[in-house]
Amino acid sequence: MRPALALGAVLSGVALAAALVSFVWTPWDPGAMAISARLQGPSLAHWAGTDHFGRDIASMLMAGARTSLAVALVAVGIGMGVGVPLGLTAAAHRGSWLDELIMRGNDLIFAFPALVIAILITATFGPSATNAILAIGIFNIPVFARVARAGALSLWTLDFIRAARVAGKGRARISAEHILPNIANLLIVQGTIQFSLGILAEAGLSYVGLGAQPPTASWGRMLAEAQTMVTLAPHVALFPGMAIVLSVLGLNLLGDGLRDALDPRLRGRVT
């Protein structure tokens, strides 16, 4: 295993483990305030110190991992669940009005940056984690549609697909039975990348108040709250930021490493 891939796997694994463990155990209650113990630096009792309400930052980080990963994961699920069938359909009917419609629709969604979609949704329905998921998920749809279409197009010209056509299989069935398994690698790699982008987007949305609302712990909101205290207690801003950087870095390294491992021809390329 290459060192970058290993590092990526370890970092992603730690983030995932922190999120999972937080369901059953955190060092302290992440919501419990103790004003007398506010803004303490890292210590044995509080590994990452405490914030301005005396809440344990390490526990909040663990609970925040849960929010970040869940939002990003569901958003990737929405993107894959809607985007991949669209991309497969477009490729199966290459050059038809259906293909054109799907791809132009994709371009249109691309024109709305995720944050602008989020702003629109929030202006309409109010801020929440669900709306953040929707905003990030909608933005993921065209990404997966494009990847699925591009991957499927090159497969449709191959002999084994033609054989399936001759054998009488319909386009939809071929897409599901023969095309999809062959582009699974591409989708997994893209999924990893979108997952890391989702974490960044969730952090950004929560930071400006458009994401998860209190009392749900969130890395982005921890940073927003830390901003005014950054001179008094830099650790309050340092740890949530590090958590985001390490998770995103881990997922990106994992994605790059997986791409190299799954398809050596693409080694060294950038998506």
């Binding site: 202006a123 960044l200 901003q227 060294g268």
Partner: protein, 314 residues
């Protein structure tokens, strides 16, 4: 080329129509009557109705959409519910900050990415390349608003080299520019990281082509082959990425303005959301989407002008 241009223009128009429809409908389904909001909860129903009529809110949805669109085309974005001034004035006011900020960030990211990408490609597979690639991985992973906070902590609060936020206006251009430096650096970092990676891989791909071998065989040095031949072709994909980055830059600016308390378009949007000033939200979002669609269109054109093969594909 004329046919290509026509097709692209038509799809540009269609995209704008659909986008404006989506934005209008989203705002339309939002609960709350703007007229009641402007007048407060205790206003008499007749007063609310009168203001509704004055704002044209009692007219059918289709007509109001047409009013909004034709108004925007004439540069009339409507009247802000809370500020009671034309939205166009508000936007122009805020653009005086947001546009220079985005331009500065774009320039900075190119200034960083170009040498970094060239250096990494020239030293492919060696320590220098790995260092640049490693740093760029980090640059992509760092949320720009957190990076901005760190910049403020070090350069504004600790060393006091730059102001931590606020905007003095352009009366003194030097002072205005000084305020924009830290936000622009924060915005430029992730963009530069992505751009450097794209440029490097495009350069490496070009360096493997026959024309480079020919140039080298004719006596061109490695540096000359890289700078005079490979770079020109590698700039095409880099330019496309730069165009796509524009929308991320806009989104980033919206967040970064909040870190530095800069009165730009981003702050305007968030203030408008909290004050339920939906006409402002509607118009600013439409403006942002228009900017992104227009930049994508121009990038496509630039791409087609440089690479004739794309024109024929349509």
């Amino acid at each position: 080329m004329a046919r290509y241009l026509l097709i692209r223009l038509m799809s540009l128009g269609a995209a704008l129509v659909v986008a404006s429809g989506v934005i209008f409908l989203m705002i339309e389904v939002t609960p709350g009557d703007p007229a009641r909001f402007m007048l407060g909860m205790n206003a008499a129903p007749e007063t609310v109705a009168a203001l509704s009529a004055q704002l044209g809110l009692d007219r059918p949805v289709g007509l109001r959409y047409l009013d909004w669109i034709t108004g925007m085309l004439r540069g009339d974005f409507g009247l802000s519910y809370t500020y009671k001034v034309p939205v166009a004035e508000l936007v122009a006011d805020r653009l005086a900050l947001s546009a220079p900020l985005a331009a500065l960030a774009l320039a900075l990211s190119t200034l960083i990415a170009l040498p970094a990408g060239l250096y990494a490609a020239a030293r492919r597979g060696r320590v220098g390349d790995s260092a640049v690639m490693g740093l760029s991985q980090l640059g992509i992973a760092v949320p720009n608003f957190w990076f901005a906070m760190l910049l403020v902590l070090v350069f504004a609060l600790h060393w006091r080299l730059f102001p931590a936020g606020g905007f003095p206006g352009w009366a003194d251009p030097g002072a205005g520019l000084r305020v924009l430096i830290l936000p622009a650096v924060a915005l430029a970092l992730p963009q530069a990281a992505i751009l450097a990676r794209v440029l490097r891989s495009a350069l490496i791909e070009e360096l493997g082509r026959d024309y480079i071998r020919t140039a080298r065989a004719k006596g061109a040095s490695r540096g000359r082959a890289l700078l005079r031949h490979a770079l020109r072709n590698a700039l095409i994909p880099a330019l496309t990425i730069l165009g796509m980055q524009f929308s991320f830059l806009l989104a980033g600016a919206i967040i970064i303005e909040n870190v530095f308390y800069l009165p730009g378009l981003g702050r305007l949007i968030f203030q408008a959301i909290t004050q339920r000033d939906l006409i402002v939200v509607e118009s600013v979002v439409m403006l942002l989407v228009f900017a992104v669609i227009a930049v994508t269109f121009l990038t496509d054109l630039a791409y087609a002008a440089v690479d004739p093969r794309l024109r024929r594909r349509g």
